[in-house]
């Protein structure tokens, strides 16, 4: 059930009406039923996969919860015993919790690896050894990377004692399967989402209408901008020999706009649908193209994935015993290098893992490595930049900030092009052609029509991007300092624009959201 299908619109209308009408204390049960229907629509086997993931998380969570309770009971009953004895008990208890966590994470992350990487591994083995093994056809549930990471985060939080293990299996099932976030996130935390997911308060009419407004904004981005430009991007990347140089640059630029409109549009629909049901999901973007460095860009783009990797992989890894020993050894040789070693090693590992999370392809591994290297190199060059800025008085000027924003946009766009070209070599050749065979005349003479875009398409897309820029200035959720009447008028205008200029209906194949495949 695609967000852009008529089926989803009908489904959403029924669910929102039912949520509005049903007694608030039953609302979360209704939401769970809707989530089960949503996922069952994608296939019973996908629903079964999700159910097994939830069941494993529930059992593991309860086991860890019981261990926490035993520890609490022991510590409160043994206040007069020596600290060493109490600590020894806590350590044994923690080791038992760790075994439960490791077993469950092995199963759910192992399953994720299997569904994403089996075909790739078999293909690689065939290429390497000249064998003709047939890759098994494995199920690939929609949003599997998202709900697996969300579930894994819950388990790690329970292990750490940051949240209590949920006693209600149905409540945990709703957390893992809440349908607006199943398609492409955001990746929520139990501690945040459970605050509103199970709320027994009546839905606030302000929230309801703000949610609808956000949904309309999401469809505007997806149908008016993303789906209109994606065909042009595909034309460029499918035939890099013909569309090289200036065309490659244009394709990479259009892809930046397309992916932004597609991904943030999907997230707007998810956050809007949730909010109209009285549920607050975490924001996933904060004007990423305004970033002045790669590190800042990744604090603004796909925020919930970045914080997931930071909290559950980067910190534990950078403070792990092997990296601590490596750091101490390096500090003996060079103090400054010693403190950087664990951070850089963890940064590169996290970025490789982030690439692997995105998909089974060398392109994503190289994409992850490139992001990690850019961030590490930027950090290493920071003192140099600082001296340069001080010497020429550039650091705090608006002009330099603008330069840094454009530089970051270009750099991240080049790295992002690994998403769209078929193969790492092809990507690098396309990027190289921008330098060696730019030939702007090709684009000037051929124009957008060579890419399958009419002048009208280009004008609509440009106008829509302008609308987004203006809309963005009104505040992140589009409701700041605006009267209810004006909000309604703007939303209706945006809806009208979407209906008139959106790429949908007969003759259009409403595309999947790009992030669905992850």
């Amino acid at each position: 059930m695609l967000f852009t299908s008529y089926t989803f619109l009908l489904f959403l209308a029924v669910v929102l009406t039912a949520c509005w009408l049903c007694p608030p204390r039953f609302r979360w049960r209704l939401t769970l039923a809707a989530s089960v229907v949503f996922y069952a629509w994608l296939g019973w086997s996908s629903l079964a996969y999700l159910a097994v993931t939830v069941a494993l998380a529930y059992v593991a969570g309860r086991l860890m919860g019981r261990l926490h309770a035993q520890r609490e009971a022991f510590l409160s009953a043994s206040a007069d015993r020596p600290r060493e004895e109490r600590r020894a008990y806590s350590k044994r208890n923690e080791a038992a919790r760790r075994r439960v966590l490791a077993a469950c994470l092995t199963l759910i992350l192992g399953a994720l690896l299997a569904v994403k990487y089996t075909a790739w591994a078999v293909g690689g083995a065939n290429a390497l050894f000249g064998t003709g093994l047939a890759a098994p056809r494995l199920l690939m549930p929609m949003g599997v990377s998202f709900f697996t990471f969300q579930t894994a985060g819950y388990l790690i939080d329970v292990y750490r004692g940051a949240v209590k293990a949920e006693r209600g299996a149905a409540r945990l099932a709703l957390f893992c399967s809440f349908f607006p976030q199943m398609v492409q996130g955001p990746i929520s935390r139990w501690g945040d989402l459970s605050q509103t997911l199970f709320s027994a308060d009546k839905i606030n009419s302000g929230d309801f209408f703000a949610g609808i407004q956000r949904i309309v904004l999401g469809f505007f981005k997806k149908l008016v901008i993303a789906d209109r430009l994606l065909a042009a991007v595909r034309t460029v990347t499918a035939d890099p020999e013909t569309y090289h140089g200036a065309y490659a640059a244009l394709g990479i630029l259009l892809y930046a706009v397309t992916l932004y409109a597609d991904f943030t549009g999907g997230i707007d629909i998810a956050l809007g649908a949730a909010r109209a049901m009285g549920v607050r999901l975490a924001e996933n973007f904060d004007r990423p193209f305004a970033a002045a460095s790669a590190a800042e860009y990744w604090r603004r783009w796909h925020i919930t994935m970045g914080t997931w990797f930071r909290d559950y992989l980067f910190y534990p890894l950078s403070a792990s015993r092997p990296l601590t020993r490596l750091s101490r050894w390096a500090r003996g040789k060079n103090a400054a290098a010693g403190r950087r070693v664990p951070v850089y090693a963890a940064t590169l590992t996290v970025w490789l893992a982030t690439g692997a999370w995105h998909g089974a392809s060398w392109n994503f591994w190289v994409w992850g490595l490139a992001n990690g290297l850019v961030i590490v190199l930027s950090e290493e060059c920071a003192p140099l930049y600082k001296r340069f800025h001080a010497r020429f008085g550039l650091g705090k000027t608006a002009a330099y900030r603008a330069f840094a924003v454009v530089r970051t946009f270009c750099l991240m766009s080049l790295i992002r092009s690994l998403d769209i070209y078929d193969g790492v070599g092809t990507t690098f050749r396309a990027i190289g052609s921008i330098v060696t065979r730019f030939d702007a005349g090709n684009v000037i003479n051929g124009g957008f029509s060579a890419l399958g875009l009419t002048a009208g398409d280009a004008a609509v897309a440009a106008g829509a991007v302008l609308v987004l820029l203006v809309w963005g200035r009104r505040g992140r959720d589009g409701t700041r300092e605006t009267s209810a009447a004006l909000q309604t008028a703007l939303t209706l205008a945006l809806l009208m624009v979407t209906l008139v200029f959106g790429a949908y209906g007969p003759g259009y194949d409403a595309g999947q959201f790009i992030y669905n495949r992850f």
Binding site: A162, Y315, S320, T324
Partner: protein, 74 residues
């Protein structure tokens, strides 16, 4: 407490780690130091600091950091 002061002093010998009250807010320690402190605390006290503990108020002084570690040890 002495071990905490030793950790901070090893990272920044130029400061008086026992009395400084603005290690994080004053920009004395940076993100590299935070990672080193987490690693050293784990090695010396067998205490794991997670992202939820990484708040400036916990890292502003040796006393605040020791209070955090001691609380987690119990």
């Amino acid at each position: 407490m002495d071990e905490i002061i030793a950790i901070l002093s090893s990272l920044h010998p130029e400061i008086d780690a026992a009395s400084c009250e603005e290690l994080a807010d004053g920009g004395v320690i940076d993100s590299f130091d935070i990672v080193s402190i987490i690693a050293e605390v784990r090695e010396r006290f067998d205490v794991t600091l997670t992202a939820a503990h990484i708040l400036p108020e916990h890292f502003n002084s040796a006393r605040a950091l020791w209070a955090l570690v001691e609380g987690l040890m119990d």
